[in-house]
Symmetry: C2
Subunit: 417 residues, 2 copies
């Protein structure tokens, strides 16, 4: 049988953490720098202190760490996820991974399981989109993707509070940011457990999976210049309606992407702004942001080529100008093959179907992959729901994922240098 | 030749009024209740006092009036327009009509032109869309379309200031609103001069026109309920993208309306709101406001029938729900036939082509038509520009419109009871 986690305790901790930021609709508001972010950290640190026989630490970007020493002088293994949430989000996204990391360590400490490597748990700062416009903040700093100069003039778009002050309040210190950096080769490996946030597992009748790749993400801002005009007096052929052009672009992108009929190729216009946005004025300008995801560079190239043709067509038919600029072009990130193999072997031992899949969402593991062997475990999201208060992973799956994480860490400890 | 206005003086006054609310882009910010609104009123009242030998008055909704007595005990004629402006608007919209009314009275006073009727000039309060969401406010109150109870809980959506306080600051008093009301039959007639705000006159090579009808305006709010979902993990066929549905509705409306190929039938979606409006979340809900204008009830009915079919089609293809509600269904308002005839006769005397046209924009005259014989004169808007800082009417057209207004008032005085 091997070592077993305490599933009940894991579920209790999940319920406990879900109280921080709980809103009247039953969702969780726990954005970076919120009071709920602060309170969650205080609770987690005191839990770790009490149950893991170790002093929690806060690094300069305010990632929370707790360190368990190994028997040998090896590089550390790290397990964790994030505790912040999207606005009105659910209780699994991030929190489940942090509490599974906690449960893995607590089982190891409680049962005196010998490890060759040190094992650290981490709860990352600001993984989700937030009012500072910085997602996966903690892991980007660790992996060197963000430096001190990138973070000194960032302000909360709602409150105006500086990121520096927020990080300080959370126990970090941006002026010492370099100390949070982890160099490639400093760690032995990283594991993150997360809910899938999509319906791929459910569609295949699966409950758990390893992850092979984290999708590439390509984003463009589309700025359309037409002409503000009176909605009554301007004859239809004279119009330069920027919103109609943006509407054409959104529906055109949708058609282009849907034609692939591939669950791992998606495209969305999620952000839209129209000016002057008055019922009686023809929109003179409009802005949209598109987000395209696929693991394959070739497909991005194909789609962008089709968007170029679409752009020309819209400019001609709507009598407007389109300006497109690339906001993000993040390549796919490949998870470590050894960890993929270990996860698959452990799934077989648990009598679960062997499976690895593409993650269509970004995760801290994508940044950790830049500095160490990184792997992920996904749990089924019922109905595919993610980034909303209705997200749900069955209790049995949470417990199985916790056990799979323990087994995987023990095997990583055994096999990795 | 008859009596002549002073064209130079009229142009000077137009330049003078354009200083109030002038912004650094050369546009005019003079929204209801702004400091520029207040300052314009102070200037106009002092100008009237000095030049018209009469004491200006402010009615309970803060419309500005100046009264010139007639020789006989007749009902009054009224001439005027509004002095407020759309954000970043131009110097002609409203202001030209007020200053032509001023010039007509000043000419009459200066040259001692005998009138049988009393002649009043008016500058209406809050004609333009404004942060209180009340356009043609002053004329709606005069004509009884808005009562005290409609106005007691209205707040500026940007500053939170109550409409009551704003009107009080401008010299009105909402608690005495009924005293601003004019009953049908109390006046002998009303005339408003305005720039066209469209390109119909320019397209026909005309500079001036009478107005036959003020278009009907039909507005609907379109609320779309889809489902917020992760822009990466949600497969294309699983999506309920509310924004794509709104985009389909906007482009569908455009097609339906454009098919009429009639300059007096237009439709627009000028207001759009998408939720949650994040680049990485599929929009779960979206709201749009459509505005359709035509003088013919039959055409509105036809268009709405086509929108019903469009709604069903979008609900099926995008897997969303549409809720449509009528925000406004204002019938076309017909200008008085006698005044139309007088304007046409005067155009012929001025050796201008005889013309009357549909106004595709709403105007205070549409409300005044409810209580008296109302007429309008339009000037060419160069390039059809309206509701923007680039709006322009040539000096010669401003002067001709002033002369046409004087001639028309003198003829109305002669002919109307």
């Amino acid at each position: 049988m091997g070592y077993q986690i305490n599933g009940e305790r894991l579920l209790q901790n999940l319920t406990r953490m879900a109280q921080f930021g709980l809103n009247e609709k039953g969702g969780i508001d726990r954005s970076l720098g919120s009071q709920a972010d602060y309170d969650t950290r205080e609770w987690l640190k005191s839990y770790w202190q009490e149950h893991l026989e170790a002093e929690p630490e806060t690094d300069p970007i305010a990632n929370l760490w707790v360190r368990h020493q190994g028997l040998e002088n090896r590089k550390p293994l790290v397990i964790g996820s994030h505790h912040d949430a999207v606005p009105d989000g659910g209780k699994y996204d991030g929190a489940m991974g942090v509490l599974i990391a906690t449960e893995v360590l607590e089982t190891i400490v409680e049962q005196g399981i010998p490890l060759k490597h040190p094992l650290y748990a981490i709860s990352f700062t600001g993984e989700e989109p937030n009012p500072y416009n910085l997602s996966t903040l903690g892991s980007k700093v660790i992996s060197g993707r963000l430096r001190k100069d990138d973070l000194t003039h960032i302000y909360n778009r709602e409150t105006g509070k500086s990121l520096e002050d927020t990080i300080k309040w959370l126990g970090g210190n941006i002026s010492e940011l370099e100390k949070a950096r982890i160099q490639p080769g400093e760690l032995a490996g990283f594991l993150e457990v997360h809910n899938e946030l999509g319906r791929h597992l459910e569609a295949q009748g699966l409950h758990l999976s390893g992850v092979s790749t984290i999708t590439g993400i390509y984003r463009e801002e589309i700025r359309i210049s037409g002409e503000n005009n009176h909605a009554g007096t301007t004859m239809m052929p004279d119009r330069k309606d920027a919103f109609l052009a943006l509407a054409d672009f959104a529906t055109g992108l949708n058609e282009i992407v849907a034609a692939y009929e591939d669950p791992d190729v998606v495209g969305t216009m999620g952000y839209v702004k129209v000016n002057p946005n008055e019922a009686n004025i023809i929109p003179g300008s409009a802005v949209g942001i598109i987000d395209i995801r696929t693991c394959e560079r070739k497909i991005i190239t194909e789609i962008v080529k089709q968007l170029d043709a679409l752009t020309k067509k819209i400019e001609d038919s709507r009598n407007v100008k389109l300006q497109r600029s690339v906001l993000l072009d993040q390549p796919a990130r490949f998870m470590d093959e050894d960890i993929q193999r270990i996860v698959k072997e452990n799934l077989v031992k648990m009598k679960e179907p062997e499976n690895v899949m593409v993650s269509m969402a970004g995760h801290d593991a994508a940044n950790m992959q830049l500095v160490t062997k990184a792997g992920m475990i996904f749990t089924r999201s019922v109905g595919g729901k993610g980034h909303c208060r209705e997200e749900f992973t069955e209790d049995a799956d949470v417990i199985k994922a916790g056990q799979l994480a323990l087994d995987t860490i023990l095997k990583m400890d055994e096999e990795l240098p």
